[in-house]
């Protein structure tokens, strides 16, 4: 097995071999999840805590289901109503939870780097479920699994990522993952939603969507993060849809067998036309949700193995001391 990480904080520091290990194991969990009896016991006796400092229904349920199917005891903490409101700092919250001996901590936070900060203070495995505008590694992994199962490979493809790249942690994690796997990456969006210096990451940047979609194997749409907008990035939703919304006409610029992806939740009629999203010959959006559970099971399985190995070593050390 080739997955040595203690935490999953981002894709940036994963090796291509580690990514393949996750995807291979996730493939097996996809099969398991399609059976009537989905339960295994690889995490039996372990405690998983989901700490979501930012609202999320989809990601949190996906992690919860993944943990339960692996046999872990799963607890959801809604941080909006917790002691955070009473002024407790992130580090104190982490230390408090740590004292309850969780084995897996799944964290989402609105600030970039917050999950990394928290991981330094606990002695369990931490999974980043999205930190600010930084990374969302399990999303990139589930996207990769979806692409690999649909296209038969995750290398040498032309992938267009379209929309609000600037505010998107999904885009950053995908940029790292697809880059490590030697794909050609194109970023498409209005310049006001494109992070500065992004072309230095080895991707091509397009302001014209039709040009950017030319010959693409994969079209990855991003949610227009309305709740993150400080205001004034685009003139209006309808002009945005006209220029950057994915409709049949623009999609025709991509390869005839190009697949359409979206991390959800979708704004129909803003970044994507409803008929495209529902076209089962092109859209793999529902597959992404299915792959999400499998990938999260794989990640937690691998991290738990590393955690057991580490604790095993520590226990052996105790005997000698």
């Amino acid at each position: 097995m080739s997955f040595r990480a203690r935490h999953l904080l981002g894709i940036e520091h994963l090796a291509p071999e580690e990514i393949r290990t996750v995807l291979d194991l996730a493939d097996r969990y996809v099969e398991l999840n399609r059976r009537t009896v989905k339960r295994t016991d690889v995490l039996a006796g372990m405690t998983q805590i989901n700490m979501f400092f930012e609202n999320s229904t989809r990601t949190q349920s996906s992690f919860e289901l993944a943990g339960k199917r692996l046999g872990a005891d799963v607890m959801n903490m809604s941080m909006q109503t917790s002691s955070v409101k009473k002024g407790e700092t992130l580090i104190d919250t982490a230390l408090t939870l740590n004292a309850m001996h969780p084995d897996l901590l799944v964290v989402r936070h609105a600030s970039s780097g917050a999950v990394e900060l928290l991981s330094q203070k606990v002695n369990c495995a931490v999974i980043n479920a999205g930190d600010g505008k930084h990374e969302h590694p399990t999303q990139a992994l589930l996207d990769a699994l979806t692409i690999r199962r649909s296209k038969g490979r995750i290398e040498g493809l032309t992938v267009a990522i379209c929309g609000d790249v600037s505010h998107s942690r999904v885009a950053r994690s995908n940029l790292f993952l697809l880059g490590k796997m030697k794909n050609r990456i194109r970023l498409i969006g209005p310049p006001t939603l494109m992070p500065s210096g992004i072309s230095e990451f080895g991707c091509e940047v397009f302001e014209n969507m039709r040009e950017g979609l030319e010959g693409a194997d994969v079209v990855m749409m991003l949610r227009l993060q309305k709740e993150r907008m400080d205001g004034g990035f685009i003139p209006s939703e309808r002009e945005y849809f006209f220029r950057y919304g994915l409709d049949a006409e623009k999609l025709a610029c991509a390869k005839p067998d190009a697949i359409v992806m979206h991390p959800g939740p979708m704004n129909r009629g803003v970044e994507i036309d409803g008929t495209i999203a529902d076209d089962i010959t092109r859209s793999v959006i529902q597959d992404q949700v299915e792959m999400g559970v499998a990938v999260r099971m794989a990640v937690m399985d691998l991290l738990a193995q590393n955690l057991r190995a580490e604790r095993g070593r520590a226990a052996v050390g105790d005997v000698y001391v």
Partner: protein, 425 residues
């Protein structure tokens, strides 16, 4: 009392020379230096060939009094300064409340007596530093304010500024500006660009500094006020500064030692001790700023000493406090530039001692007959690894924790009296 410092390497920032020699102090002043003999009855200190330079004049030090004494007091800041070879601290008025009345300035002046080095105060330019009404500039000058600044609080109201500048000009007061366009820099934690995008942190373009500077320079041209830009940190600002100087405006500029020795990538994995205002820049900007100091376009190097408590730094990067302590690390950090061959020792002390003193009308900063005997004796080559918990500052938020540095202060003198090593009674 007569003190004879013999066998020193004399660093003269006025003539830009370094020569072996001796130095004689009487009644707090330098009375002779060079190839001179030891007079009868003088106390002799052997400098063992180490460097003797004018004490550092640090323009823009935050001290937590009043209001934030848990971060830094005049006593701890003063001890840190002495340990760092800083003999004159120019304190910032961004306290709680701000130093914006003669009464609060008198309080600060009284408290400053606890420090073993000289403390001079800047006062706020506008009441409460909120950019609406000018302070009592005249009374504050009478109470000892050496300059007027709202520190990093930048007003967008050019009308208020133009009036304050005009009034200050009439009184001959100097204004210290913080060149920054606040609309652009609002909410920013790092400099925009590849690094900001990589870390997903809100960034500000260095152009915000240039826009702020151009605005201030236009107001200087309009009013004729004496103006000092606290920190010029980006290449984009330098042509504007050069044009203003060439046009004969009474303008100078400073830069913090952190912007001369660190760049944006030092933030690494969200290390909050590297969060500064303005944020650390690209390597190209850093090199341009170093060159501008060498050329004399940027006049002053300062520490921008900004104490922050542990709690305010143990937060996600965006929420964490900005700023770093620097009184004790200013000299060893500056010596990195000397060891890298970018600046000579006299050039360094021109920027750290002579220029800030001259700009503020102080007699310090010179190694010459008749100058105050504010001196630092240091070994520029002595290596050490910095442990932040050995700092004398109450706050330990230094970006240099655990790094190798070269250059140790051996002794610091203020008015001929040794203030470091500390005389513990």
């Amino acid at each position: 009392m007569t003190l004879f410092l013999q066998n020193a390497r004399l660093i003269d920032p006025e003539r830009l020379t370094e020569t072996p020699g001796n130095l004689l102090i009487e009644a707090g002043r330098i009375v002779a230096l060079g190839d001179i003999a030891v007079p009868e009855g003088a106390e002799v200190i052997d400098c063992a060939g180490k460097c003797l330079a004018p004490g550092i004049v640090d323009l823009g030090v935050k001290i937590g009094e009043p209001g934030e004494r848990h971060k830094e007091s005049f006593r701890t800041a003063g001890r840190a300064a002495a340990a760092g070879g800083v003999t004159t601290v120019i304190a910032r008025p961004d306290t709680l409340p701000a130093i914006d009345t003669p009464e609060s300035l008198e309080f600060a002046t009284r408290r400053a007596a606890e420090a073993p080095v000289r403390i001079r105060h800047m006062a706020a330019l506008t009441k409460g530093r909120d950019g609406r009404e000018m302070t009592e500039i005249g009374f504050l000058m009478d109470a000892g304010a050496v300059a007027f600044t709202d520190a990093e609080a930048v007003t967008t109201d050019a009308k208020v500024l133009s009036r304050a500048f005009t009034y200050a000009r009439a009184l001959g007061a100097m204004v210290v500006g913080h060149p920054q366009e606040p609309g652009l820099s609002h909410g920013a934690a790092v400099t925009s660009g590849k690094f900001a995008s990589l870390r997903g942190l809100p960034g500000v373009s260095p152009m915000a500094e240039r826009i702020g500077l151009e605005r201030d320079l236009a107001l200087v041209e309009m009013t004729g006020v004496r103006y000092h830009a606290d920190q010029i940190t980006s290449a984009a600002s330098l042509p504007a500064l050069a044009r203003a100087k060439a046009a004969g405006l009474d303008v100078t500029a400073g830069v913090s030692i952190h912007h001369l020795t660190l760049n944006e990538f030092d933030v690494g994995e969200y290390r909050t001790f590297f969060k500064m205002t303005p944020p650390l820049r690209s390597e190209e900007d850093r090199l341009a700023a170093v060159q501008a100091v060498a050329d004399g376009l940027i006049d002053v190097i300062c520490s921008m000493h900004t104490p922050a408590d542990e709690e305010s730094k143990r937060l996600p990067f965006e929420q964490a406090a900005s700023g770093a302590v620097g009184l004790e690390t200013l000299l060893p950090a500056a010596l990195r530039l000397y060891h890298a061959g970018a600046l000579s020792l006299p050039q360094l002390f021109r920027a750290m001692a002579l220029n800030p003193a001259k700009r503020l009308g102080l007699a310090q900063g010179r190694l010459a007959e008749g100058a105050p005997a504010d001196l630092v004796l240091f070994d520029p080559d002595a290596p050490f690894v910095l442990d932040r918990f050995t700092l004398h500052s109450k706050s330990k938020n230094t970006p240099f924790d655990g790094t190798r540095m070269e250059g140790k202060v051996l002794a610091t003198f203020v008015a001929g009296v040794q203030v470091y090593p500390h005389n513990e009674k």
